[in-house]
Amino acid sequence: MATRKQLHWEDIEVGGELTELPKVATTQMLVKWAGACGDFNPLHFDEAFAASQGVGKPIVHGPLKRAWLVQLLTDWIGEKGALRKFSCQMRAMDYPRPMKDLASPQEGETWWCKGTVTKKYVEAGEHRLDCEIWVENGKGQVTTRGQATVTLPSQAR
């Protein structure tokens, strides 16, 4: 996030870790997400439909997990960094926590968005980093995996 101290390319080493981002998927979050991006697939809110699709019960939107990973990166690179390339692949289903009351979810799993730096280089006049990124569910299993290329400002400039 922009309030965090701005990282510079020189601060980073290959093998270093991105600042982890925790997320809690809730049934409420899925409703908000569906409305915010226009994805009204009943797979994400209709129990019987989800069962008929072979996923058991309503699942977390893949594009929401994608957006979590984008946030992991934009938080980490700060307002002077830029995301150049991003990819992710869905590896397993995730199921949202039900709500306990209007604002808070029931007890359950927390998802962690994580990443490591795999390459550090200068290209096209930019100070770039390649990263492996992923989402882990409450059991520590990777349910979404991806790669990204980001730029950071250099102290040399």
Binding site: M29, C37, G62, P63, V70, Q71, L83, K85, S87, T144
Partner: protein, 158 residues
């Protein structure tokens, strides 16, 4: 084997959709996501960081100015292809993933032209039987004629 009616759609280019990137739509997106980054919320913070106005999070390209028959989310090209894949026996859908290239930031007030193309359609044997992968490549160009992003999204049908 996928029927020819399906695979011959590889390379087909769909109609260009006009997408409007509204401030309110950006806020609803980052609110749903739980992303408090001031670049997406606060005009002043975005300007201090050197942007004209509020920045859309990468991967958010606004909403279609005109909804197609399939609603706001999927371009008609994708609906056409998934209907034919369904006729071939693959009716259940899942999101596979995406590859993005980002060239320029997308800002509130931008009007994007999005042109989808069928990049690939192929079958694979999965854990639960055969699956079809549909890859749609969409290019996004802003009102100044700059290509801001390219997305290759994979939909899985089984």
């Amino acid at each position: 084997m996928l029927p020819k009616e399906v695979t011959r759609l590889i390379g087909k280019v769909g109609e260009t959709m006009v997408l409007e990137v509204e401030k309110g739509a950006i806020r609803r997106y980052v609110d749903a996501l739980g992303d408090p980054n001031p670049l997406h919320w606060d005009e002043g913070a975005a300007k201090r960081a050197g942007f004209r106005t509020i920045v859309a999070p990468p991967g958010f390209f606004g909403w279609p100015a005109k909804w197609g028959a399939a609603g706001p989310f999927f371009p008609p090209l994708r609906e056409e292809v998934t209907a034919l894949i369904a006729d071939a026996g693959y009716t259940r859908g899942l999101y596979g993933g995406v590859e993005y290239d980002f060239f320029h930031p997308v800002l509130a007030g931008d009007v994007l032209s999005a042109t989808p193309k069928v990049k690939d359609i192929y079958e694979r044997e999965g854990k639960t039987g055969k699956m079809v992968f549909l890859v749609i490549e969409t290019t996004y160009t802003n009102q100044n004629g700059q290509m801001v992003a390219r997305a290759r999204e994979t939909a899985i049908r089984r």
